[in-house]
């Protein structure tokens, strides 16, 4: 495969990605409480406690920030 073809293939793969950049000032929908990974914080904490007690490992749950882009 020629280098140009490889570059073209990579470019097309990048364009075909389903990821869409959301600017910080456009995160109004992402900041809604019902868009959170966990809507019930107490239940989520209990579940995590059960998980790390059984598995001896912390789960990687949650994301950095509530969607406002401040973190």
């Amino acid at each position: 495969m020629k280098p140009l073809h490889v570059a073209l293939l990579l470019g097309l793969s990048a364009l075909a990605s389903a990821c869409q950049h959301v600017d910080p000032w456009e995160r109004n929908l992402l900041a809604r409480p019902d868009m959170a990974w966990e809507t019930d914080e107490i239940a989520a904490t209990q579940e995590q406690h059960t998980y790390f007690s059984k598995e001896a490992a912390m789960p990687g749950g949650g994301v950095g920030g509530g969607g406002c882009g401040c973190n």
């Binding site: 280098p3 570059a7 910080p24 000032w25 406002c68």
Partner: protein, 171 residues
């Protein structure tokens, strides 16, 4: 990898990074703007505030740290004479009603411009919400303050005081 291959990849790399490159920084001239006020029909014009230290604060009703910052910015705006320092909010809510509702909940006396199109954050190269730009009397950005945490207001106060002192020729 051959140099030819790297050369072929270069346009792709440029295309992928170009959109994220611009951000207004300290030492840059603040872009002038005119926008409709959130409350009432007045226009908010940045260059009319030239000669004062201006804190341009980008905020939105859905942004929790923005909401936490606003009462503190209101307090800060009253700590200095209004002919020397002014806070100017820029709301980026898509719906003006959301911004008005937020201001009813947390009333502030400083002016707030509405930018539902997102044109101003683009011109300032906003990278996070909230972001405040401290602009000196000559229209130059002296501080870009990203995010808002407890205690940040002290840093802002210190910087405002520094700019005011500089103009008066104090050390």
């Amino acid at each position: 990898m051959t140099p030819r291959f790297l050369r072929a990849l270069l346009p792709l790399a440029v295309a992928l990074t170009a959109s994220a490159s611009f951000a207004l920084d300290e030492g840059d001239r603040a872009p002038d703007f005119q926008a409709r006020s959130v409350v009432g029909d007045a226009e908010v014009v940045l260059h009319e505030m030239r000669g004062k230290v201006v804190l341009v604060d980008f905020w939105a009703s859905w942004c929790a740290p923005c909401n936490a910052a606003m009462p503190q910015l209101e307090k800060l705006s009253k700590e200095f004479p209004s002919d020397q320092f002014v806070v100017l909010g820029v709301n980026v809510d898509k719906k003006l009603a959301d911004a008005r509702r937020a201001l009813e909940k947390r009333p502030v006396t400083y002016p707030n411009a509405s930018d539902p199109t997102g044109m101003l954050p683009k011109r300032f190269g906003l990278q996070t919400m909230p972001t405040s730009y401290l602009i000196d009397q000559d229209g130059v950005v002296r501080l870009v303050h990203r995010g808002f945490r407890n205690g940040d207001i002290d840093e802002l106060r210190e910087q405002v005081q520094k700019l005011l002192d500089k103009k008066k020729g104090r050390p």
